[in-house]
């Protein structure tokens, strides 16, 4: 086994607040300081809350609510150079019944990210939270922070009433492309609030069922983005599928390519095979990594999807299904690993070059 030490960018760290007032002080006063988002409607997870039990802060605070402890317990402990902060509990702004509240809470949350986290350390980069059910407001929010180099992507919940390839989302994609920011989606809101059921055949019964099947929503969105021609319309747009799994992608690429050969007349705006758009525009993050009994089976899947340009490491700290950066990846060549751990994220997000990259 390789003993190489890799530089690491963690592309999914769930920072949060210790006290709700850290966020609500940025809310317009007519909301009267409320943080109220739609709850899960499925039965509770046996994995306690949503977080690692050992990530509670020394003062007993919520996991990842204390920048000092996050730096010590995660960034330094695992040798992570940079972390992409994805926030916590806030992506339900997009499936709230009240779009005004969703917009204002997204705005407040971004102010909180700037004040508490981006000012704390240059090793943290932020994600602009938007409410995707109000694309015009979302575009304004992107414009507000688009010039701040410490925000390196837009993030939105993956649950939606409509598929992300639809034209109503164009203002979001235009704004993102204008500022050179990738759009990322993150699961967790499926089946909640105003989103539809988490499967086309209705609700799931238990948390495990829900968690198992989240990738189907990602498949639907990727399929929609490609077939609707979003990447022809926005050729610079990059789309990051956080925490949605990996092993489904070869199937989707092959099925789309096969169908395109016979059905391409219905999508004449596609100039290339569907899988080519995926490989050029879609990024996937690793956690929760699939764990086949034979790890080399996953290595083969990584090869099928050109993982050296499509896959980025993520830990999901401090959530219960966290991946240890030093234990999660399947057997891969060091060069591929280094791309997954650092280089692809650094290029996508415009992060500093890998410290040992000189001369390569």
């Amino acid at each position: 086994m390789s003993k190489k030490t890799f530089h690491i960018v963690d592309t999914d760290i769930h920072n949060t607040y210790a006290d709700g007032k850290e966020v609500t002080k940025f809310l317009p006063s007519h909301w009267m300081g409320r943080i109220q988002l739609p709850n899960n409607c499925f039965s509770p997870s046996p994995a306690r809350g949503g977080s690692r039990l050992d990530a509670v802060t020394p003062s007993g605070g919520a996991p990842a609510s204390d920048p000092d402890f996050l730096m010590e317990h995660h960034m330094d402990a695992y040798g992570i150079n940079y972390g992409i902060l994805t926030g916590s509990g806030v992506l339900a702004v997009s499936i709230h019944c009240d779009p005004d509240y969703g917009n204002d809470l997204a705005t407040a949350y971004n102010e909180f990210t700037v004040e508490k986290w981006l000012s704390y350390s240059d090793r943290f980069y932020g994600s602009i939270v938007i409410n995707h059910t109000d694309p015009l407001a979302a575009a304004k929010e992107i414009d507000k922070h688009g010039a701040n180099p410490r925000f390196v992507q837009v993030i939105m919940g993956s649950a939606s009433r409509t598929l992300f390839g639809q034209r109503q989302f164009y203002p979001i994609y235009e704004a993102a492309q204008r500022h050179g920011l990738p759009i990322s989606i993150h699961p967790g809101t499926e089946g909640r609030g105003i989103s539809g059921y988490p499967t086309p055949s209705g609700p799931v019964t238990r948390y495990m069922e829900w968690h198992n099947i989240l990738p189907t929503n990602y498949m639907a969105h990727v399929n929609s983005l490609v077939c609707e021609g979003v990447f022809e319309r926005f050729p610079e747009l990059q789309f990051v599928c956080i925490e949605g799994g990996i092993a489904w992608l070869p199937h989707l690429m092959w099925r789309m390519d096969k169908n395109f050969k016979g059905l391409r007349a219905s999508t004449p705006w596609l100039k290339r095979m569907p899988s080519e758009y995926i490989l050029d525009h879609i990024k996937l993050t690793t956690q929760p990594i699939e764990e086949p009994d034979n790890p080399r089976h996953l290595s083969q899947i990584f090869e099928m999807i050109q993982a050296e340009k499509t896959v980025m490491f993520s830990s999901d700290y401090p959530h219960w299904d966290f991946d240890n950066p030093h234990a999660a990846l399947p057997p891969l060549d060091d060069a591929v690993k280094q791309s997954i751990y650092y280089d692809t994220a650094a290029k996508l997000y415009g992060l500093p070059a890998r410290p040992d990259a000189q001369g390569e």
Binding site: P46, A47, R52, L53, W320, F322, N324, H326, A327, A328
Partner: protein
């Protein structure tokens, strides 16, 4: 080849009540010592999955095999769930619940000794360690 067993006093019995645990550093290893219904057990504090600090997990029971739609909750206090991914281990054996034959944590022998605890190293999956009580002293046999 027989290896020498080392004995480590952990604490007095009165300091480790039923349902409690104590995580100690011994010989460069982090080991959790547990009092399960008055019996003492010890496990290596590393989950075999992704190396989480297993012994900091929740001590709980589990659901036994049952008919579809039926829950049989039992073994309260005998199971520890990893603080990360929730994998369940039997504290008394170190064996995982989902695959006891292949997935285990190292266990060690523990006894209660009056003066000088001795014990044999125990082979197990999650590293478990022997513990004994000596003069009210819970003793780990490593």
């Amino acid at each position: 080849m027989a290896t020498k067993t080392l004995d480590y006093p952990v604490c007095r019995v009165s300091e480790l009540a039923p349902g409690d645990r104590k995580i100690i550093e011994v010989d460069g290893k982090s080991i959790g010592v547990f009092n399960v219904h008055g019996q003492f057990y010890a496990l290596r504090n590393i989950c075999p999955h992704q190396f989480a600090p297993l012994c900091r997990g929740k001590i709980t029971g589990t659901t036994l095999p049952s008919k579809v739609g039926e829950y049989l909750y039992a073994r309260e206090g005998e199971i520890i769930r990893c603080p990360w991914h929730g994998w369940e281990f039997d504290i008394t054996t170190g064996k995982s619940i989902f695959n006891p034959h292949k997935v285990k944590v190292r266990s060690y022998e523990v006894s209660v000794e009056k003066s000088c605890p001795h014990g044999d190293e125990e082979e197990a999956s999650v590293e478990t360690f022997p513990v004994s009580v000596e003069d009210g002293v819970v003793t780990l046999h490593l």
